[in-house]
Point group: C2
Chain length 352, copies 2
C-alpha cells in the first residue's frame, strides 16, 4: 500500500492514497494505520488530552498517589470462541492494560451495547464470564451502562471496559525505560488468540484443538515485580508481538535483537500460519506479556514466571543491543537476519 503525506485541515496526516477520506478496517488493526490515526488525527485534535505516554494506560497523579486509567471496546466476532468469550476478553484486556504500567487493578466499568433481539441467555453467559474473570483478577465491577440498538444497528453485542488502578511506590514501568543490556522475556506461546478466533470464523474455519490464551495477567506481574527490576511491560494484543516491540523500540529509542528459534509457538499456530501465509509475530495474543528486564534480574524473573499458571512457557527471546536508533533485528532459525516493522494494515478484523 502506498502512503501519501497530505495536509488535512492543517494537520499532517498519513493516510492511504486512494481512500484518504474514509475510515478503513486497518485503522482498527493496532498496527501502522492505527498509529497514524492516533498520532496524526486524534492527538493533534485533542489539545486537552493528557500528555500521551504511549503506554497501555494513562497515569494520573492525585495527592501524591499515582492512578492508572485505561479503556477498550470489544467487538470480537464470534462472541464465543475456544478458550473464552467477549466478556472474559473485556475484563482481561482491561486488567492487562492496567498491569502493563505496573498498576494494581481497583475497579472497572462495563458498557454494553446490545442488538435488539439478542437472546437473554447469550447476555447471561457473557455477564457470568465477566463475573468469573473479575473474581479471578480481584477487580471490582463498579458501574455499568446498557444501551439497546435496533436490529441491524449493531452486530449482537459490543462491550466497553474501562479500568482504574493504583501504582505502588517504587514501581516505574514504561515503554520508554529500555536500555542496552535489558533482557526481553515473553511469558508464553504467541498467536494463540488470533488463530483460535480464526478457526471459528465463518468461512475460514479449519479443525484445531487450539484455545485462546485470554487470561488476566495482574497476579503474574505482581510476582515479577517482586522478583526483579521490570523496565517495560506490554501485552501484545492487536498487532501482535512484532508491533509491540516496534512501539517499545520507538519509545525507548533502542535497537533490539530477537531470536526466532527462542520464541515459543504452538505447533497448531505454526501450521495455521504456514497454511494461511501469516507471520505469527503479528497475530494477536490476549494472555501474554513481553517484558524488558534488568540484565542482573532476568534469570530470577524468568524462574518466577515459569512457576506461574500463565507463565509456564516463559522464555528469553532477545536483548537490547544499543541505544540511539529504534530498530528490531530478527535472527531467523535458518541463520538469516531481518528487520521487523509494524503490521502495516489489517490482518484479521474484530479479533478483540
Amino acid at each position: 500500500m502506498e502512503y501519501n503525506e497530505f495536509d488535512f485541515d492543517g494537520y499532517a496526516c498519513s493516510i492511504p492514497h486512494q481512500t484518504k477520506e474514509k475510515i478503513l478496517l486497518g485503522h482498527g488493526s493496532g498496527g501502522k494505520l492505527s498509529h497514524d490515526l492516533i498520532n496524526n488525527f486524534f492527538l493533534p485534535e485533542l489539545k486537552n488530552a493528557a500528555p500521551r505516554n504511549k503506554d497501555d494506560a494513562a497515569i494520573i497523579s492525585l495527592n501524591g498517589r499515582r492512578l492508572a486509567l485505561t479503556t477498550d471496546s470489544y467487538v470480537v466476532s464470534p462472541l464465543f470462541f475456544p478458550g473464552g468469550d467477549i466478556g472474559k476478553l473485556a475484563v482481561c484486556g482491561t486488567v492487562n492494560d492496567l498491569s502493563m504500567v505496573g498498576a494494581t487493578p481497583i475497579a472497572l466499568t462495563c458498557g454494553y451495547i446490545i442488538e435488539e433481539g439478542l437472546p437473554l441467555e447469550i447476555l447471561k453467559r457473557v455477564v457470568h464470564s465477566i463475573q468469573e474473570t473479575a473474581l479471578e483478577a480481584k477487580i471490582y465491577i463498579a458501574a455499568g451502562d446498557t444501551k439497546v440498538v435496533q436490529r441491524g444497528g449493531v452486530d449482537k453485542l459490543f462491550i466497553n471496559t474501562t479500568g482504574l488502578g493504583y501504582i505502588s511506590e517504587g514501581i516505574n514501568i514504561s515503554g520508554s525505560n529500555a536500555i542496552p543490556g535489558d533482557v526481553i522475556i515473553i511469558s508464553g506461546t504467541i498467536g494463540d488468540h488470533g488463530i483460535a478466533i480464526l478457526s471459528v470464523r465463518e468461512g475460514l474455519g479449519f479443525e484445531t484443538d487450539l484455545q485462546s490464551d485470554v487470561a488476566p495477567l495482574n497476579h503474574l506481574v505482581k510476582d515479577m515485580t517482586s522478583a526483579g527490576e521490570i523496565k517495560v511491560l506490554r501485552d501484545p494484543t492487536r498487532g501482535g508481538l512484532g508491533t509491540s516491540l516496534v512501539e517499545i523500540t520507538q519509545q525507548s529509542n533502542v535497537t533490539i535483537e530477537i531470536y526466532e528459534r527462542d520464541i515459543p509457538i504452538m505447533p497448531q499456530v505454526r501450521a495455521a500460519c504456514e497454511m494461511l501465509g501469516f507471520d505469527p509475530l503479528y497475530i494477536a495474543n490476549e494472555g501474554k506479556l513481553v517484558a524488558f528486564v534488568a540484565e542482573r534480574d532476568a534469570d530470577k524473573v524468568l524462574s518466577i514466571m515459569r512457576k506461574h499458571q500463565y507463565g509456564q512457557s516463559a522464555a528469553i527471546i532477545g536483548r537490547v543491543i544499543e541505544a540511539g536508533k529504534p530498530r528490531i533485528y530478527l535472527k531467523t532459525i535458518i541463520g538469516g537476519k531481518r528487520i521487523v516493522d509494524m503490521l502495516p494494515g489489517e490482518l484479521l478484523p474484530r479479533i478483540c
Copy 2:
C-alpha cells in the same frame, strides 16, 4: 404491555410475556424495563460488583479520598442534531454523571467504535466537539481506544466515555438523602433534548427551531454546593424527569408532590408532545438537573442557579411531603392530582 413474573434460572425477572427470552429496545430506555434488567439480571449475576448505590456514579474510597467512576455508551442517531452531536453528548453525559454525586471531574476516557467507510471528516467534527466540550468542563481526556467494524456491523459511530472524579470533603449527595421538607428544583426547561432529536429523526421530522439542551453541568453544581446544602442531584436523561423522580423517591423512601404549572417547558416542546401524544415528564434532557435542597437554603440555591448560564430558567417544582412510602403526586394545571410512575417501555430509541 402485560408483564409476567417468571423465574429465570433462579432469578426473579420481570420481562414482557411474549418476548421473555430476548432483549427489547425498552431494556435500553432508562425506564422500567432498564431497571428490571439491572435489578433482576445484572446485579444478581455480578456478585463481584460494588454495592450498588443506585446513584449516577460509583464511589470508591482510596486512602481516605473518595473517587467517583461512571460509564456511558452513546449510540444517538443521528450523530449531529440541533444544538449538539454525539461527541458533545458523550462528554456532557459523563461529566454530568460525575457531577450528580458531587464529584469534581478529573479525567475521562473515550472508546470509539467506528463503521468501516465512515468519512474521516465526520470523525474529525466529532473529535473536535469532544475537545471543545472537555475544555469547557475542564476535564482531561486521559486515554482512548479505536475499533473499526466492517460495514453494516455498527451504525456509523458509537462512543463510550468513562469518567473519573474526586469528591471534596463535606460533600454528601445521594438519591437516598431526601427527607420531608426538602425543596425540589429543576435547573430549566424539560424535554428539549428528546424533542430536538425527534425533530431530525428520519420519518418523524417536523419543523422546529428547538435545540438540544446538551451541556456540562459541573460548574453549575459547584456554585450550588457553595450556596447551600444539596441533598440529591440527578440529571434526567433517558426516562426523563418522571423516571428520575421515581428513582429518588424509591431510594429515599419518601413521598413528594410536584406542581405541573411550575415545571418549565418550551412552547415547542409542549406543542410537539401534544401533537405526538408524549408526556414531557418522560422526555430526555441532557443539560438539566433536578436537585433536592434543604428547605432553609432553597431560595439562596435557586438564586445562584439563575445567575448561571445553564440555570437561568431554574424553578422550584415541588417538595418532599412525607417519609415511609415512595410516591409522586403531580398536581395538574387544571387542579387534579395524579400519581407519576416510571416510563414503562421505550419512548424513543437511541436518544443518547
